[in-house]
């Protein structure tokens, strides 16, 4: 397994650990690319704080900077690192314990049915 996967997932979880960065990522996910100024207008966070977090998010590869008109830099969400982190979560959410319990219960139910059937035919003993 390449060690880089872990590094990518770690960056995603570190980014998501901060409430302001979560808010910024959620805003980019729901409303699309935005400039730091757009985000400052919409969110209860100063433009300076947003710019600092966007820089960190870009460094982690979670957003990319797009240069638009009049030197306005728009930030766009990058989903690929999220997919790596989702894979990490998928492994933990994959509940084989519950499935194997269900399998055992199913087999016990079927045996009880067949045992009852046998008991029914041999009731005289």
């Amino acid at each position: 397994m390449p060690p880089d996967i872990e590094a990518i997932a770690e960056q995603v979880f570190a980014a998501l650990a901060d409430p302001t960065r979560r808010t910024i990522l959620a805003a980019l996910a729901s409303d699309g690319p935005a400039t730091a100024t757009d985000l400052a207008d919409r969110l209860p966070v100063t433009r300076q704080a947003i710019a600092k977090h966007l820089f960190l998010l870009a460094d982690a590869g979670l957003v990319t900077a797009e240069h638009g008109e009049r030197r306005r830099v728009r930030y766009r969400l990058r989903s690929e690192p999220m997919r790596v982190a989702q894979q990490f979560l998928a492994a933990m959410a994959n509940d084989w314990d519950a499935r194997l319990d269900a399998l055992t219960q199913h087999l016990n139910r079927s045996r009880r049915t067949s045992t009852n059937r046998i008991a029914g035919t041999n009731r005289h003993d």
Binding site: M1, P2, D4, I5, E6, I8, A9, E10, A58, D59, G61, T64, A65, H67, R78, E80, P81, R83, V84, Q86, Q87, F88, L89, A90, A91, M92, A93, N94, W96, D97, R99, L100, A102, L103, T104, Q105, H106, L107, N108, S110, R111
Partner: protein, 143 residues
Amino acid sequence: MGFPDRIERTVEIAHPPAAVWAALTTAEGLAAWFGDRATIDLRPGGSAQMTWKQGHIAEMRVERVEEPSVFGYTWHIFGLPEDDPRRTYVEFTLEPLDSGTRLTVVETGFAQLSPDTHSQAYDGNTSGWASELGELVSYLDAA
């Protein structure tokens, strides 16, 4: 942190391998404990499908059929977007015991990264810089 690539569980079941095999490899068996409905074409390369009342669908591809000891299939990684091509491999191994069956399930491949996902997850900064430098070049050319 340790990225979990492999999940392994072993249970001892008080039923013979034939009963466990039927529960794992027939539509009736799978629908009784795994999905709410199931279909299966039990041969390597065959398709199987499980659906749940909540609307979730799992498409599986049968890979190994060695009755009554090994059954393996691949499926989509639950929780990833539907267009994501990555799949994990699930293998059930049944060993007969005096008291029934020892069933082991191993699911592998959570830590795989398809080549394009790998480059996409990594090239962000590189291509970001490439496009920025490209813009710088066009700017200088225009000046």
